[in-house]
Structure formats: structure tokens, C-alpha cells
């Protein structure tokens, strides 16, 4: 009888560990999905900001603030222009 209880306990615990791993994995994926949406949103803000600039010289432009943990870099090709 005690052996049965120990067996039930260990089985239940093993199942719960598997559940913990699955839940952790699910939460991680959920977090990545939410973060991805936020980054996409920030990217479009930066894109719109650049489009609204009169010229390509950003040296005088004000820094666009998107949050303390957001970093953005904009590069261009100074030699070639892109033709459709």
C-alpha cells in the first residue's frame, strides 16, 4: 500500500515536471511573439520617421525616442542610388 502511494507520488511528480517544461516553453514562445510584434511596430515608426525627413542628412535630426531598451540603426549607400 505504501509502495503504491510512492509510485503514484513519483508518477504524478514526473508528469508535473513535464508540464513545467511545456509551460516554460509555451511562455517563452508567447514572450517571443509579443516581442516580435513590438519590434515590428518600432521598425515602422523608424521607417515613417525617415520618410518624413526632408533630406538624407540626419546629423541635425533629433533622436527618436522609442524606449530605454530599444536600439535602432539606419544605414545608407552613399555611392549608389536604388532604381526601381
Amino acid at each position: 500500500m505504501i509502495g503504491d502511494n510512492v509510485l503514484i507520488f513519483s508518477n504524478t511528480f514526473s508528469i508535473l515536471i513535464v508540464f513545467a517544461i511545456l509551460i516554460s516553453y509555451f511562455i517563452r514562445n508567447l514572450f517571443l511573439s509579443i516581442s516580435s510584434d513590438e519590434v515590428i511596430s518600432d521598425l515602422s515608426i523608424v521607417e515613417n520617421y525617415i520618410k518624413n525627413q526632408d533630406n538624407a542628412d540626419f546629423t541635425e535630426s533629433e533622436t527618436l525616442y522609442l524606449g530605454h531598451n530599444v536600439i535602432y540603426n539606419v544605414y545608407n549607400d552613399s555611392k549608389k542610388t536604388y532604381i526601381h
Partner: protein, 372 residues
């Protein structure tokens, strides 16, 4: 096409991201820095005024791995203690819940045919287990009653058989020693032997009938017959033997019954014989039929000495005699009404007795009406 010049940034010092020469997919990427920091980033080529720009946006999540590890640790910790608490509380609860069942099993173990007086203690809340204990106790009570009845039956049967056997044995002894030489004593002894043998034969026939009936080995030969015919036959046969009594019957010409004719006739004979035994002439015995909601009702009533109310329930028990001394005088084994009840039950009917001491007795039978 080469992108090489950083023209706009919010964090000039932070340019260490892995920048591909050309963005090949529009997917979000992640980059782990150190142990705990994750950077989620995405890039895009944009054409503005025929110039190609490359935009890269990243979001930094410090301590993200710490969060995952903490979550996992606390989850396991909580689950472990949760399981331990559940285990112990489950053991405690199950032992409490199963206690009545243990009591039942102990009581069942202690029950034998000689210790049927044991009962399960009824306590605790009004739940299914308490109900089960009550039902179990009532079942044991019924068993105890039946065992007692069976014991009494065996005792009475042995007693009833021993009496004629003693008489037979005594007479044979007497004849062996001296009686056979005297014709008068020999004749008397032979008559006694015959009478006692007949008594034993009757007793054994009745016991066999009851035993067969108990084991449901009796086959009823059901057929439709008119009650008028049955009643007339019973009354005629009774009056042939007891002409000093007034026995009448009353039923409709068309009243019929689908039953075993001989069995029902036997029941009526038993009841009428009992009425005659316990009534002084003329007795005024009446057999009456009446259609009731439950079926066909047959009532046999007399104006005899009646039965005390306290004994009415017992008169259908085997070997039960209301007044032992009076029964000895009138004859009878105390099996007639048991056989009558058995026959009526075999027909899915009911039989009840109503009586008042000194006023007479009424036996009411109800039999189901079956067409065909």
C-alpha cells in the same frame, strides 16, 4: 550593393549587431548576449527618394533567462509541496472516508449463521455510507428473522414427526410384548397405527409441498374457470362432511379467474376447514367474490371465535397455532394457512386476515385478473 554608412542611430555606441549585407527574410531574429540578455531584432530595406536605406531595430531584454529559470524553480517547488500536501491530506481524508466501509467489512467478517445479532454502528453524517449501513443492518435483521423462522420450522417439524413416531413405537412395543394375543387390544393398536401413519403421511406431504414451493418447483396449471363452479364444489364438499354448518357463497355468474383450479380450491378448502374448526355450528361461513381495482377479490368469512389482533400476522407462519390446546382438540398441524399463502403468492396474489376475538374472522384474497 553595399550598405556601409551609419546615418542615424539612437545609441551610437551600440552598433555591434550582426548586420547582414542584404536582408533576405522579413523574420524577427533573436540574439543572446551573455547569460541573461536576449536581443530581439528585425531589419528592413526601405527606398526613399530613390535611395536605399537599411533600418535595423532591436529590443533588449535583460534578465530574461533568470525569469525562465526562476519560473521553473518556483513551479517545481510549489508543485512538489502541493503534491506532498495533497498526498498526506488524501491519505487522511481517505482513511476518514473509508472508516464506515472498514466498519462494514469488520461487521461482515464477524457475521456467521450463529452470530446474526451483530450490527454496524450507525453514526456520522447523513451520507450514502450511513444509508448503506442502515440498509445492511435491515438486511441482517431480515436474515436473522428468516434464520430464526427456519430453526423454528426444523424444530417444529421434528417435534411433529416425533409425536406420531412415539405413538407408533409405543404401540409396536406393546404388541410385541403382550398385546398381540388379545384381539381387542390388537385391533385398537392397529387402528392407532393406521391413524398415526396417516397423520405422518399428511404432515410429510404438506412439508414436501412447502419445500417444493420454496424452491419454485411447483408448476401451476393455469386455466380460465368460473368462480361459481369452484365455490359450488367447495361448498358441496364441505356440507357433505359438515352438514350442521351453514356455508354459502355469493358471486356473479360471469366472474372468472385464470389460475390453477385445484390450487385455488385447496386454498378455499384450507380456509373453510379452519373456519369450521374454530366456529360452533351453524358457523355462517360465506365465500364471496368481488372485482376490485387490484384484481379479483375472494373473501371467506365466518362468525367463529376469531383471532387475537396481535397474532394475525403470525397465522401464516409454518406450524403456528393460535391456541395450542384448542388445536390439539380440533386437529391440525399449523401448516394449512402457510400452504394457502404460498399458493396465493405463486399466483402473484395477496392474502390477509382480519379478525376480532369473539366476532369472527375474514380472510381476504386478491388474485390478478389475467385474460386468456
Amino acid at each position: 550593393m553595399t550598405l556601409k554608412k551609419l546615418i542615424f542611430t539612437n545609441k551610437p555606441g551600440f552598433t555591434s549587431l550582426d548586420i547582414p549585407s542584404k536582408s533576405s527574410s522579413a523574420s524577427t531574429k533573436q540574439h543572446v548576449v551573455g547569460h541573461d540578455t536576449v536581443i530581439i531584432y528585425r531589419d528592413k530595406n526601405v527606398i526613399i527618394n530613390d535611395k536605399l536605406y537599411y533600418i535595423q531595430v532591436a529590443k533588449k531584454y535583460p534578465n530574461i533567462s533568470v525569469f525562465g529559470r526562476l519560473f521553473f524553480k518556483y513551479f517545481l517547488f510549489t508543485v512538489f509541496f502541493g503534491v506532498v500536501i495533497c498526498l498526506f491530506s488524501g491519505l487522511y481524508l481517505s482513511s476518514k472516508v473509508l472508516k464506515p466501509i472498514r466498519n462494514i467489512s469488520i461487521a461482515v467478517k464477524e457475521l456467521t449463521s450463529k452470530s446474526l445479532e451483530k450490527r454496524i454502528p450507525i453514526n456520522g453524517p447523513d451520507d450514502e455510507l450511513k444509508e448503506l449501513s442502515i440498509i445492511f443492518n435491515s438486511m441482517i435483521e431480515r436474515l436473522e428473522t428468516d434464520f430464526k423462522k427456519q430453526k423454528r420450522f426444523v424444530y417444529d417439524a421434528s417435534h411433529e414427526l416425533r409425536t406420531p413416531l412415539s405413538v407408533i413405537y409405543g404401540n409396536i412395543n406393546m404388541l410385541t410384548r403382550w398385546g398381540k394375543s388379545e384381539p381387542e387390544i390388537l385391533d385398537k393398536a392397529l387402528l392407532t397405527l393406521k391413524s398415526e401413519t396417516e397423520n405422518m403421511n399428511e404432515l410429510i406431504t404438506k412439508l414436501l409441498y412447502l419445500a417444493k414451493s420454496d424452491s419454485e418447483a411447483i408448476e401451476l396449471k393455469k386455466a380460465e374457470f368460473t368462480l361459481n363452479t369452484l365455490f359450488k364444489e367447495v361448498v358441496d364438499e364441505t356440507l357433505m362432511v359438515h352438514s350442521d354448518y351453514i356455508v354459502t357463497y355469493n358471486c356473479g355468474e360471469e366472474d372468472t379467474l385464470n389460475a390453477d383450479y385445484n390450487s385455488i380450491k385447496q386454498v378455499l378448502r384450507i380456509i373453510v376447514d379452519n373456519s369450521i374448526k374454530f366456529s360452533l355450528p351453524p358457523g355462517y361461513i360465506t365465500i364471496q367474490a368481488e372485482i376490485k381495482n387490484e384484481g379479483m377479490g375472494i373473501t371467506v368469512s365466518d362468525k367463529g371465535c376469531g383471532i387475537p389482533e396481535s397474532e394475525l400476522k403470525l397465522i401464516f407462519d409454518r406450524f403456528y397455532k393460535v391456541d395450542e390446546s384448542r388445536t390439539k382438540a380440533t386437529g391440525g398441524l399449523g401448516l394449512g394457512l402457510s400452504i394457502a399463502k404460498q399458493i396465493i403468492q405463486n399466483h402473484n396474489g395477496t392474502i390477509v386476515a382480519k379478525s376480532k376475538s369473539g366476532e369472527g374472522t375474514k380472510i381476504e384474497i386478491v388474485l390478478p385478473i389475467i385474460k386468456g
